[in-house]
């Protein structure tokens, strides 16, 4: 009952004209960002964050979340029409979606993706509505050791699950931690890694780093061989976009399964929309009566992954808002944004800022309705944006990155920093170092250090506090398991090979 009255209060916040306008703006921008190859939701949220500086925190986060889940919808357009995923979570959609487009069924693929995304996304928001307050209430019992363990778990799972090499992911996370230590130590007042530069005394802000790594880094990487996109000719009239009864019958279970898988995977720190869509595709193929059709234009291969990636984007907000621990690059950027507005994500957010939390939840219901309308009725308009040459679009993205970094403190030093991290982002991309752990570690670094210090003050300097408290012990054990899993797997392989030889 409490939840429903809170939700009603949230709708009263989300339905104000300003919030509705920025929700619409967010989902439109998100769809465009998702549709444009080479710029993902993390970059989109980071680049557009400075635009929200003049807004109230709730309006700002409504717009940023709109960009996030809007990007999940938008990624489908390029996957289906060009066979180039707009962002990584749409990779699996391209497999069957593009084949459907080649058979003249692009409209059906885009339609079922939009409807599946809407149903799974809304389902995810319903689960979030009832689950998040329970998790937040449970998390109220967490002390500094539990938070320390939780953040270590978030960092290790993200590092363990992103990128091809765990060493590289961990190195990126360690570098992010290093960056978070730059500046004046809050306890002792000692200047760390500032190299006598006054600009560095207040630390390295996450925004120039995120904009550089995700925005400029991506632009530089794609500039090596800018391609003109060849869009498949397709009839995208309303009649063609609505799925037929046969399509609907084939897809309904895929949408349900995708939605559940997406929410569960999305809620895990480190996993995310991309992994959810891969798992959903594998599950659909396995449970299908016609697995041979997958890869040839099976509609379930579009419905499942698309439902999963949307539901995952809602699931990813669970650890961010209830525990204050982001599980992905985009939610890390959002957490940084919330902290800039003076809000501290975590269980207390539900008690101290209910209008903010429930306004955001209500806006997600509204955003999903707006998105399904946009993605069914206005697909041709989004397709036209794809015709803008990359050679024109990329410079415009860079200009927005530069101005965005400047806006943070009205300081050109941040722009230089953004440029430096842009080059670093390019090099990291070339060498397969994932940027997400770096940004997450930068955002969490100070909190990790503070909770470590608080824990050791409580225990009188004994590290045993982390293993004697059950929740932190379990969380640290899971983190250790994630780190050791690859080593144990290769050890098992060696033992098996030796056993078979013997």
């Amino acid at each position: 009952m409490d939840t429903l009255s809170n939700l009603l209060m949230g709708f009263s916040v989300a339905l104000t004209p300003v919030n509705l306008l920025f929700c619409l703006l967010g989902v439109v921008m998100g769809t465009l960002i998702g549709a444009l190859p080479g710029i993902g939701p993390s970059a989109g949220v980071a680049i557009l964050l400075p635009v929200t500086f003049g807004m109230s925190p709730v309006t700002s986060i409504i717009m940023l979340c709109g960009i996030y889940y809007g990007a999940m919808y938008g990624g489908t357009i390029t996957s289906v029409l060009i066979n180039v995923p707009g962002e990584s979570s749409s990779v699996m959609t391209a497999v069957d979606g593009y084949q459907m487009a080649r058979k003249g069924r692009a409209g059906a693929a885009l339609g079922i993706a939009a409807i599946g995304s809407f149903l799974a996304g809304t389902g995810g928001v319903v689960i979030f509505t009832f689950l998040a307050p329970l998790i937040a209430r449970f998390a109220l019992s967490f002390g500094p050791p539990e938070y320390f363990a939780l953040m270590i778990l978030g960092l290790t799972t993200l590092s363990g699950l992103t990128g091809r090499s765990m060493w590289k992911s961990l190195a990126a996370a360690a570098f992010g931690l290093m960056l978070s230590f730059v500046g004046m130590d809050i306890v002792t007042g000692v200047a760390r890694f500032t190299f006598h530069r006054p600009d560095l005394l207040s630390g390295v802000d996450f925004l120039p780093v995120a904009i550089g790594l995700f925005g400029v880094g991506e632009v530089l990487a794609s500039a090596e061989s800018p391609a003109e996109l060849e869009i498949t000719r397709a009839d995208l009239s309303l009649r063609k976009v609505f799925p037929t009864m046969a399509d609907w019958v084939r897809s309904r279970r895929s949408i349900l399964r995708g939605g559940v898988i997406g929410f569960l995977i999305g809620s895990l720190p480190g996993a995310g929309a991309t992994m959810a869509s891969f798992i959903s595709y594998a599950v659909e193929k396995k449970s299908s009566r016609h697995p041979e059709e997958f890869g040839q234009g099976a509609i379930e291969g579009v419905a499942g992954p698309e439902s999963a990636n949307n539901s995952a984007s809602v699931g990813a907000l669970v650890p961010l808002l209830t525990l204050g621990v982001p599980g992905s690059a985009t939610t890390a950027v959002m957490m940084g944004a919330l902290m800039m507005y003076g809000l501290h994500p975590g269980p207390l957010l539900f008690q101290k800022n209910p209008d903010f939390v429930w306004g955001l939840v209500a806006s997600m219901y509204i955003g999903n309705v707006l998105l399904v309308i946009l993605n069914i009725a206005f697909i041709p308009a989004f397709v036209n944006v794809l015709r803008i040459p990359q050679r024109i679009l990329s410079p415009l993205i860079v200009v927005f990155c530069m101005v965005g970094a400047y806006t943070l403190d009205n300081n050109l030093f941040d722009v230089w920093l953004m440029l430096l991290f842009g080059v670093l982002g390019y090099l990291m991309k070339k060498l397969d170092y994932p940027p997400a752990p770096l940004v997450l570690a930068l955002v969490l670094g100070n909190l990790v250090e503070t909770s470590l210090r608080q824990s050791l003050i409580i225990s009188g300097g004994s590290m045993a506090i982390f293993v004697t408290r059950p929740i932190s012990a379990v969380l640290l054990a899971i983190a250790a398991a994630v780190l050791l899993a690859p080593a144990l797997r290769s050890l098992g392989r060696v033992i098996r090979v030796r056993a078979s030889r013997a």
Partner: protein, 149 residues
């Protein structure tokens, strides 16, 4: 590519050693509680282990010998970085808005676009968008430069 991977591993290792040395000069514990050097030192240790892990992984793997950058990207990326750097460097003298237009122009040319009918409206559009969204709406005090805008 393998050379670049090895260099990458060495850079991680070097960074770890440098930050470790810096962290070692700060107090490790202050009244039995982690001091300013505690967390950086352990992060440096983690980074050093990662650097060694990366080097071992790279040297063990049989990777192709494809170049780090090939084709037009060899020149394009440094030129683009140069254009961006020049844009930021000139912002105090020419004004931020004007520099945004020049950066758009320079980057489009660097990326191989030659149609002025596309480039010029994009550059003017960038200047106007920056002025309207950030200068006018958000009241961001941009450097005005010698031109005064």
């Amino acid at each position: 590519m393998i050379t670049a991977e090895v260099v990458g591993g060495l850079v991680v290792l070097g960074l770890a050693l440098f930050t470790g040395a810096q962290a070692a000069s700060m107090p490790y514990l202050v009244e039995r509680v982690p001091g300013p050097g505690f967390a950086p030192l352990w992060s440096a240790a983690l980074m050093a282990i990662c650097g060694l892990g990366i080097l071992a992984e790279v040297l063990r793997a049989k990777r192709g010998r494809e170049p780090f950058v090939s084709g037009p990207g060899v020149l394009r990326v440094p030129v683009m970085v140069g254009v961006m750097g020049a844009g930021v460097g000139l912002a105090p003298y020419l004004g931020m808005r004007l520099c945004c237009g020049l950066v758009t122009l320079g980057l489009a040319l660097a990326m191989g676009e030659r149609r002025l009918v596309l480039i010029l409206p994009a550059a003017v559009g960038a200047v106007l968008a920056v002025h309207l969204v950030f200068g006018y709406w958000l009241q961001v005090p941009f450097p005005r430069g010698l031109v005064g805008w």
